[in-house]
Amino acid sequence: MGADLFSLLVQSGNSLGAQSAAMSVAGNNVANANTPGYSRQIANLAANPAVSALGAGGVGTGVSLVNITQARDQFVERQMPNALAAQSRSQTESDALSALTALNPDLSGGLPTEIGAFYSSLQTWSQNPGDPSLRQNVLGSAQALATSFNQTASAISSARTGLDAAIQGKVTEVNAAANALADLNKQIQISKSAGGESNDLLDARQTAVDNLATLTGATPYTDGAGNISMALPGGTALVVGGSAGQFSAVPDPSNDGLLKLQLNRADGSPPTDWNGSSLGGTMGGLFGARDGALKTAADSVDSLAFDMGTALNTVQQNGFDMDGNAGVAIFQLGATSSGAAAQISVNPAVAANGRLLAAATTTPAASGDNTNALAMIGTQSQALPSGSNPVATIQTIVTAFGTSSAQAQALASHDGAMASNLQTLRDSTSGVSIDEEMVNLTKAQKAYEAIAKVIATASQMMDTLMSIAGT
């Protein structure tokens, strides 16, 4: 093609196309300014190669659109999945632990209050052990204590089964996300072999990667073929290229019937049990709360119920009641501490008859003999099998739970700030600035007008040429 008018017209036409493509890109960016995960696109224009003309060196041949690239910061994007996973894990755990109020120190009817009230009733009784109303008082407090244990155990158990319901929901989400990622890998491969990357698919895939990382703590890695695969913490692949593993949740009899995970692997090998607490992200947070601090609290409360009940029963059985008979157990317990807090109740025979409380240590029992009642009070300061006395034990339970909760909150705050910072950095590079796009749009528009002017001028010149020929 030479530097003639026809070439000028054709080249200008192509250049118009390039400028209008640039306008389209700017328009697309503006439209997607608020789309999450969208990376702004840049229309890359380049001057066409020059051709030699009239022996006087090269003349340019206009502009064309070379490609449309995305503004992405690989460094930031590589860190995002981990940051999002960490934030989700600690936030989920923090929320789950904050929601349990049964161990609030000031809770009316809570364990600290009722343990104190029970020992107080024993104290008052010891001063006048023959008084039937004081005996009734002790029975009332014993019942309140048993109820408090029952309710605390129930609240913790509800919290754990509530997390189970969330786990079930998340399993469905994880499977969908894994499938979505595998699908996108396939689509991108197809689009590549058809020629060129599809920016929208790349954006969608990055979003899918971030999503799966947020849910499970899986880390992405790029393979040689350009697929993004994801590996669970520990190294096992969840998504490999175009195939995805699937999770399922089944009840685990060794963990009070709560759910455990099973993984059907991406490579087709047989399903295996998967430790939920080893995951990161939301799933890791749910399992971490359920089987961590909440389980510890549940077990400690069970131990306290069992040990305290046993200690009081032992003292009661060493003494003699108002009729001179050996004391019978005040509290009904199971054989072991497992589930003791939910089961503990007052022996109905004793509940119906205050005379059965054994205040005396000799028989026949004098009505004013309070020596066994004093021994019952003494259990308040004696170490239980778990290591500390009842008051110190409930204090430790509350503090330990509080510490786990506070740590999770602190982590959530820290991880949240990290993820937020990274998000800001990512938005800074990949986000759309409306002001910028307006400028780009105007730029392309003016260029378009100018080129149109060139075409008009060339056309006029051609007209002049044509009119020379005459009819």
Binding site: P112, G116, S120, Q123, Q127, L374, G402
Partner: protein
């Protein structure tokens, strides 16, 4: 740093939510007056709330039971004082009527008086407080002394906890004081002997009974010393308990209560910051190139 539209909206939103969160938290502290609600708010403080809360409950109850026991011992003290007065009367009578110038008739009248004194003492020793016999040891549900001064109570001394882990005797042994268990004299037997001697106009018998009455008076005085000691111990215990309770209450308040001035100031700050954040956000939404093109 390149600032994009979505970024500025996201940041504005995040900051607004954070300002609201702070305002809500500050409000909660001001309304409830409590700094710690959930153990995670301050784990160490929550632990202190548990231990001090129970300690305060215990000290409260100990204070009440000590007061009840104190009432019983005060009554015992009063009864023993009256017994002491009656024994002094008996002493006087014995000394007086020991003089052989008195007639059989006068001595006979004296015998009746001694019988009266004896049954008054029985009544005093069967004193009850709130339905409970205080001079029977642990046998507190029926009168420990019968009409002739026979003792059916036991030899136990009652005890109560006057401070965590510390036991204190809260009764005296009427069998030692009145029946001479452990090497003393039987007060009622002594009075009975005196009464018989008076009725029989037995001058020598009357005079020899004086020794027994004297010993009885000593025994009662000794019991009064014991009750005085118990009451003193109760007093000290209550004072110490009161100090301990105040101190526990202070620790509890320091850990669990919100500093009302700090909380109110935080609330004001949080509310102002929220207002400012809202105003700035609204402003920044208006400023884009779009406003100026065309």
């Amino acid at each position: 740093m390149r600032v994009t539209s979505k970024m500025s909206f996201d940041l504005a939103q995040a900051q607004m939510m954070a300002a609201r969160d702070r305002a809500v938290q500050a409000q909660q502290q001001v309304t409830t007056g409590m700094r710690v609600d959930h153990p995670g708010d301050d784990p160490a403080a929550a632990g202190v709330m548990v231990s001090q809360g129970i300690a305060i409950q215990r000290l409260d109850t100990i204070d009440k039971t000590t007061s009840s026991a104190q009432g019983e011992v005060q009554t015992a003290d009063g009864a023993l004082q009256s017994v002491s007065t009656l024994l002094a009367q008996a002493q006087q009578l014995a000394v007086q009527l020991g003089n052989d110038t008195y007639s059989a008739a006068e001595r006979s009248a004296g015998s009746q008086e001694i019988n009266g004194i004896s049954s008054q003492i029985v009544q005093l020793m069967n004193t009850q407080v709130a339905g409970r016999y205080i001079f029977g040891g642990n046998s507190d549900s029926s009168p420990p002394f019968d009409a002739s001064g026979g003792y059916s109570g036991d030899a136990a001394v009652r005890q109560i906890e006057i401070a965590p882990g510390l036991l204190q005797a809260s009764s005296i042994r009427a069998d030692v004081t009145m029946k001479g268990v452990g090497g003393g004299v039987d007060v009622f037997a002594t009075l009975s002997t005196l009464s018989t001697a008076l009725a029989n106009n037995d001058g020598a018998g009357i005079r020899s009974a004086v020794t027994g009455i004297s010993q009885s008076t000593d025994q009662v005085a000794s019991a009064l010393t014991a009750t005085g000691g118990i009451l003193s111990a109760f007093d000290s215990a209550q004072q110490i308990g009161s100090v301990a309770k105040d101190s526990a209450q202070k620790v509890l308040s320091a850990q669990s209560e919100a500093d009302i001035f700090q909380a109110t100031s935080n609330l004001t700050l949080a509310q102002q910051s929220l207002q400012a954040s809202l105003a700035v956000t609204a402003q920044s939404f208006n400023v884009t190139l779009l406003n100026y093109l065309k």
